[in-house]
Symmetry: C2
């Protein structure tokens, strides 16, 4: 028996999220079907965690077990091209590795990194509307970073959790939040100088909708509707109604999942404005 770790990229626009559902096509179900086509048997895929409807990934991690005999003469690295050729165009295998039989994508993961992209301009944007959230108000990034500092560290994030979630332990540890102004890069047809605001949030794990509620709240700080210190109060209140709106899924992308040894998270370059623990 082989345990195979996949690193996946997908455009979430056409999928009802990662996890298999009774209704709607999901990324997990498409990958399982593709593996079945490849290895001529039912194969169960385990993901490191869910992504919601419309959320994208460039570093999702999943694994599956397959008997050595089913691989026939296929070498492990060849699985990448073979699987890519049966997957649809909006799901790609970026990397394939043989891992120990005990490896579990979710339980072994130590850190997840998400990126959220805001198009910050008043001009209508016609390209790649599935890859950003359009927010036209002027943003004060210093204040947003000041607000973000209150969130770094180990906290009860009940205020930043969708109410629909299971009644799980709401304590998580945010390692880092960066907020950077960048050129908006939605195609090589045009380059919009400094028109993007990019968030990157790294934590041991996230609650349901946590990134999107944090971004929504920090945007309100940046706009001046609430003060940076309010973020501390919102966190302390442990009540979802205190935080601001959940921003849309299309701006969100799972960048990387880090394991104790081998998976590197690509750093956010340039004016990163990192936020250390307050």
């Amino acid at each position: 028996m082989k345990n195979i770790k996949l690193t996946l990229a997908y455009n979430g626009a056409s999928y009802h999220g990662w996890q298999i559902q009774p209704n709607g096509i999901t990324v997990q179900s498409v990958i399982e079907k593709s593996l079945e086509r490849l290895f001529k048997r039912k194969i169960k895929v385990i993901g490191q965690g869910r992504t919601d409807t419309g959320v994208h990934a460039i570093g999702q991690v999943a694994s599956f077990k397959v008997p050595a005999i089913a691989l026939k003469n296929m070498k492990i690295p060849q699985i990448k091209d073979a699987l890519n050729s049966v997957l649809p165009q909006d799901i790609a295998v970026m990397d394939v590795e043989s891992v120990s039989l005990g490896f579990h994508p979710r339980f072994d993961a130590k850190e997840r990194a998400y990126r959220y992209v805001v198009y910050n301009d008043h001009n209508k944007q016609v390209f790649g509307r599935n890859f950003f959230y359009s927010y036209q108000y002027k943003l004060n990034l210093s204040k947003m970073r000041e607000g973000a500092r209150y969130l770094v560290g180990e906290h009860d994030f009940s205020s930043f959790q969708c109410k629909k979630t299971d009644n799980e332990n709401p304590v998580r540890t945010i390692k880092n939040i960066t907020i950077a102004r960048r050129d908006f890069a939605v195609s090589n047809f045009l380059k919009l100088k400094n028109k993007a605001v990019v968030f990157e949030i790294t934590a041991n794990a996230f609650l349901y909708n946590m990134v999107r509620i944090i971004v929504g709240t920090l945007l309100d700080v940046g706009k001046g509707r609430i003060e940076p210190q309010n973020v501390k109060k919102i966190l302390a209140g442990k009540d979802r109604t205190l935080a601001e709106e959940t921003v849309p899924a299309c701006g969100l992308c799972l960048i990387a999942v880090r394991y104790p040894v081998n998976v590197k998270i690509p750093p956010l370059k340039g004016d990163s404005g990192g936020c250390k623990k307050y």
Copy 2:
């Protein structure tokens, strides 16, 4: 009567090109319907030229005439926001100007600039598939620029014209061709260093499919399938069957239309590799 010049951006993925057709939704027809909704009367829109099904624009130019009375209290600059609010999300008015009654977008245009984007890597790309052409072979840009030089200047471009076109004069003047390697920028989620090859071609006007046949031919030069000097022979042959394949529409964008005085073409920055006349 007012003559209004519009500068338009659109994502061509959902449209049967610019020009009104009996079947299929076109950009021109959507704009005419939006203007009718805004001004409560039928309005005819004149474009500077067609773009094909799936071709994008950030600098398409069109004009329409409207009686001053129909504007009511609306000032000319206000037309931008008013029209954007009735247009669908994939068509945007970038600029509105009042011009002389004699202005004609097609007859007065002196120069058109198109950009073509190639994603040049073997890895599958899941984002923004409507905004580039995926070409995995290694490209020699020096050879491509050498081939491109034969095309600059006034020539009979019959070899670079789709056969289906009307029997018009096939002589055009290419002012400039640049071919540059750039970072592939299909979203702010990821930045792929040097994975894009971007063509920019400026001419007084273009024949049907001319940009796409030129790019297809230069890619074959870059791949090493034909020699740069062959481009000269292909041009001299005045026969479409001599040139290479027409690359897909999705990689193409109309960047700008230049008029004698007022419209500027944004320059292609960085390693532009400009090709002067041979």
